[in-house]
C-alpha cells in the first residue's frame, strides 16, 4: 500500500521542469563540489531562492541534486590537486592523489564517479525500503521522544567534533540560543529583540550558514595567498569502463555503502565521518593494506561509495523524524519548511506523493550524475584553472545576493556579516562551526517539544523517563555524554576496536 502510494509521486517527477531541475542541480552540485571551500551546503543555500519559486518536487529535486552532485564533485580537486573540494573528499584524496601521480588520474576520477553513483543508489534503495518502518515507529513518538531524539542529534555532532567535544557542545548551545531570538511560540512574548523590529523574526538560517561558512572561508582563501597563480591541472578523459571495473569490486561497494547508510541515518554524523569510516574499514579488511595510501583503487571506491550512500541514509531521519543528519540536510529541511512541508509522519501521511517525487528525484540524480560526471569532467577540471583573485569576489557576491534574495531584506545581509565575524573567531580558536547550524535548526524542535512535554505532565520532568522510547533515547544520550567526558586516548582505542569488529 505504502509503495503504491509512493509511486503516485513519480508523475510529479516525470515532468520536463522537474527533470531539467534535477539535471541542473547535479551539474551545479558537481561544479560547486569541485571548487574548494564551497561544498553541497553552500550550493543548497544559494539555490533556495530559486527552489522556492518552483513547484515542490521540482524545487526539492533541484536542492537534492545539488546535495548529491556536491558530495561527489569534491573528489575532482582532491585527486588532481590534492585539495579536497569538500571535506568528505579528504578521504578520497588519500589514494586518489597518488593514483593521479602515477598517471592514473582518469581512472581515479572514473572510480570516484562510479562509486558515488552506485553508493548513492544503494543508499536510495535502503531509504525507500526502510522509511515506512521508521515512519510507523515515529507514530509512537510524542513530544518527549522528539525532544530526546533532537538532543541526540545535537550531542552526536559534538561527539564527532574533531578538535574538542566540549567546544562542539558550546557551539551547539550557541546555535540553540540563536533559535530563541524573536517571538516565543508559547507565550508570544518578545525574546532578546532589544527593541528592534527586525529581530522579532529572529535569524534566517540562510544568513547564518552563509555568514558562518562562506565568508570566513573566502577570507581564509585570500589570506592563504596564491591569488594570481593559475593552478597547473592535467587534462583528463573519463570513460564508462571505470563503472564496470567498480562493479567488479562489489564487496567493497556494498560494505562501504552499508557503512555510509548506517552512519548517515545517525543524526549528527554526515559524509565526512562516513567517508573516513568506509575507507578505514576497507583498509583494515584488505589482504594488502600496505597498498592503501599509495594509490589503491579500493580506497577511492570505499570513501566515495560511503560518502554518497550517506546522503540516502541522512534523508531518513530528516524526512521521517524531522531530525537533520548533517548541516546540509538541516538546510534542506529548512527548504521543506519554506515550501510549506513539515518533515515527520504528517509528511508521509498527507503528502506521500511529494515523498515519492523526492525519492524519484534522488534516484534519478544519482544516475544523471554518472553521465554528467563522465562527460563533463573536462569542464569541471577547467574551473580549477580560474584564478582565486576572480573566483573569490564572485563567490562573495553570489553569497550576498543569494542571502538577500530569500526575503529581499538588507537586514539579512547584516546578520550574515555578523555571523561571518562569529565564524571567523570560532574557526580561529578551534571551535567547530557545524554544531551551530544543527543547533539553530534543532533549537525550535527541542524547546517546543520540551515545553510541550512539561505542559502535558503538569511541569513534571518524570514524563521523560516514564515513557519507554523516550527513556531509551535518553539512555543513549547519557552514553554519548559519557563518551564526551572520556579521555581522548581511551576514546581512540575503543573506536579502533569498533572499526575492526565491523
Amino acid at each position: 500500500m505504502y509503495y503504491e502510494q509512493l509511486l503516485s509521486g513519480i508523475p510529479l517527477f516525470l515532468t520536463p521542469l522537474s527533470i531539467l531541475m534535477v539535471c541542473l542541480g547535479v551539474f551545479l552540485g558537481l561544479v560547486i563540489g569541485v571548487l574548494p571551500g564551497l561544498g553541497p551546503l553552500m550550493g543548497i543555500v544559494l539555490l533556495i531562492p530559486m527552489a522556492g519559486k518552483l513547484p515542490p518536487v521540482s524545487g526539492l529535486g533541484l536542492l537534492l541534486a545539488v546535495y548529491i552532485g556536491g558530495s561527489c564533485g569534491g573528489a575532482v580537486s582532491a585527486i588532481l590537486l590534492r585539495i579536497p573540494g569538500t571535506p568528505m573528499a579528504a578521504a578520497t584524496m588519500i589514494d586518489g592523489y597518488p593514483m593521479a601521480q602515477k598517471g592514473k588520474a582518469s581512472e581515479a576520477l572514473g572510480y570516484s564517479i562510479a562509486a558515488s553513483t552506485l553508493g548513492g543508489l544503494f543508499g536510495g534503495v535502503i531509504l525507500i525500503l526502510l522509511a515506512p518502518y521508521l515512519a510507523n515507529l515515529a507514530l509512537r513518538f510524542g513530544p518527549p521522544e522528539y525532544f530526546a531524539l533532537a538532543v541526540t542529534g545535537l550531542l552526536s555532532v559534538a561527539v564527532v567534533s574533531i578538535e574538542s567535544t566540549s567546544k562542539g557542545i558550546i557551539v551547539g548551545i550557541l546555535g540553540l540560543l540563536t533559535a530563541t531570538v524573536g517571538v516565543d511560540s508559547f507565550s508570544s512574548v518578545y525574546r532578546f529583540t532589544f527593541g528592534s523590529t527586525s529581530l522579532i523574526s529572529g535569524f534566517n538560517i540562510v544568513s547564518i550558514v552563509v555568514g558562518l561558512f562562506a565568508l570566513p572561508e573566502m577570507f581564509h582563501q585570500i589570506a592563504n595567498g596564491n591569488l594570481s597563480v593559475k593552478p597547473r591541472v592535467e587534462s583528463v578523459r573519463v570513460s564508462f569502463r571505470a563503472t564496470l571495473d567498480t562493479l567488479k569490486r562489489w564487496r567493497t561497494l556494498v560494505r562501504s555503502s552499508l557503512i555510509g547508510v548506517f552512519l548517515g541515518a545517525l543524526p549528527g554524523t554526515g559524509g565526512v565521518v562516513a567517508a573516513f569510516a568506509g575507507y578505514a574499514a576497507e583498509r583494515s579488511l584488505s589482504k594488502t593494506p600496505e597498498r592503501f595510501g599509495q594509490g589503491a583503487e579500493e580506497g577511492v571506491i570505499a570513501s566515495q561509495a560511503a560518502d554518497n550512500s550517506c546522503v540516502g541514509g541522512t534523508l531518513m531521519p530528516t524526512l521521517v523524524l524531522g531530525i537533520p543528519g548533517d548541516p546540509s540536510s538541516a538546510v534542506f529541511m529548512g527548504a521543506l519548511f519554506l515550501l510549506g512541508f513539515f518533515p515527520g509522519t504528517a509528511l508521509f501521511e498527507k503528502h506521500i506523493d511529494i515523498v515519492g517525487g523526492i525519492f524519484a528525484s534522488y534516484m534519478a540524480a544519482n544516475i544523471i550524475m554518472l553521465f554528467m560526471g563522465v562527460l563533463f569532467t573536462p569542464i569541471f577540471v577547467s574551473l580549477l584553472k580560474v584564478k582565486k583573485q576572480y573566483l573569490v569576489p564572485i563567490i562573495i557576491l553570489l553569497s550576498v545576493v543569494g542571502t538577500y534574495a530569500l526575503q529581499s531584506s538588507v537586514y539579512d545581509l547584516w546578520v550574515m556579516l555578523a555571523f561571518g565575524v562569529v565564524g571567523y573567531f570560532l574557526r580561529k580558536f578551534g571551535y567547530p562551526l557545524a554544531p551551530l547550524i544543527i543547533g539553530n535548526v534543532l533549537g525550535q524542535i527541542i524547546e517546543d517539544n520540551f515545553r510541550r512535554s512539561l505542559v502535558i505532565s503538569g511541569d513534571s520532568y518524570q514524563i521523560f523517563v516514564d515513557r519507554p522510547i523516550s527513556a531509551a533515547i535518553l539512555l543513549v544520550n547519557f552514553i554519548l555524554i559519557l563518551w564526551l567526558i572520556t579521555p581522548a586516548g581511551v576514546r581512540k582505542r575503543i573506536w579502533k576496536r569498533i572499526v575492526r569488529v565491523t
Binding site: 531562492p49 530559486m50 519559486k53 574538542s164 566540549s166 567546544k167 557542545i169 558550546i170 548551545i173 550557541l174 540553540l176 540560543l177 530563541t180 516565543d184 508559547f186 507565550s187 512574548v189 518578545y190 525574546r191 532578546f192 565568508l215 573566502m218 577570507f219 581564509h220 585570500i222 589570506a223 592563504n224 595567498g225 591569488l227 594570481s228 582565486k388 583573485q389 576572480y390 573569490v392 569576489p393 564572485i394 562573495i396 557576491l397 553570489l398 550576498v400 545576493v401 538577500y404 534574495a405 529581499s408 538588507v410 545581509l413 547584516w414 556579516l417 561571518g420 573567531f425 580561529k428 580558536f429 571551535y431 524547546e447 520540551f450 515545553r451 510541550r452 512539561l454 505542559v455 511541569d459
Partner: protein, 175 residues
C-alpha cells in the same frame, strides 16, 4: 620550536573566547531577569515561562566556558613544561595577504552600508572592482568590463529568472 610567547598568545585567545561566551550567556540571563520578567514571562509553568529554556542554556554555556578555561590553563602549563621539546614550526603569517583579506571585508561592509541607499546597480560593480584590485588585478579593462558584466549577468539571473527585485536604493536605479 613553539615558543612560550606562542603558548601565552594561545592561552590569551582561549581565555578571551571563554570571556566572550560568558558575556553572551550573562546578557541572556540579564534579559531573562529584566525584559522577560517585565513581560511576566520569567516565572510560572512551561506554558508561560519563556525564560526557562534560555536560562538552562545560558547556565550550561557558562559552566562549559569555565571548563574550557580550566582546560586551556592545563594545556598552557603542560606546554610550558614541555617547551624544551621541539615541536612544529609556527605557521609563517603573510601580513600582506591578511591585509588583503581585511581590506576585502571592509569593502564588503561599506557595500552593505551603501546598498540600501545607492542600490545594487551602482554599488556592485564598484565592490567587485575594488576586490579585484585588492587581490592584484591591474588591467583597467578587466577592472571595468568583468565587474560590469558579472553585475548584469547576476541581475538577469535573479530579476528575470527568479523574479527577485534587487535593491534600487533612494535613487531608484535598477537594471
Amino acid at each position: 620550536m613553539v615558543t612560550n610567547t606562542n603558548n601565552w598568545a594561545r592561552l590569551q585567545g582561549e581565555l578571551s573566547m571563554a570571556a566572550a561566551l560568558i558575556a553572551i550567556a550573562s546578557l541572556i540571563l540579564y534579559q531573562c531577569y529584566t525584559s522577560l520578567a517585565a513581560q511576566g514571562a520569567a516565572s510560572g509553568g512551561a506554558m508561560q515561562n519563556a525564560a526557562m529554556y534560555p536560562n538552562i542554556l545560558a547556565t550550561t554555556l557558562i559552566a562549559l566556558s569555565l571548563v574550557q578555561v580550566v582546560l586551556a590553563i592545563k594545556a598552557y602549563k603542560k606546554s610550558t613544561m614541555e617547551s624544551n621539546t621541539p615541536e612544529f614550526e609556527a605557521h609563517k603569517i603573510d601580513r600582506g595577504n591578511i591585509g588583503r583579506a581585511i581590506a576585502c571585508a571592509v569593502s564588503l561592509t561599506v557595500y552593505l552600508v551603501c546598498l540600501k541607499y545607492v542600490g545594487y546597480a551602482l554599488t556592485t560593480p564598484i565592490l567587485l572592482a575594488c576586490m579585484f584590485a585588492i587581490l592584484g588585478v591591474r588591467s583597467p579593462i578587466k577592472l571595468v568590463v568583468i565587474p560590469v558584466s558579472i553585475t548584469i549577468v547576476i541581475s538577469l539571473i535573479f530579476q528575470n529568472g527568479f523574479n527577485i527585485i534587487l535593491p534600487v536604493g533612494r535613487l531608484g536605479l535598477g537594471l
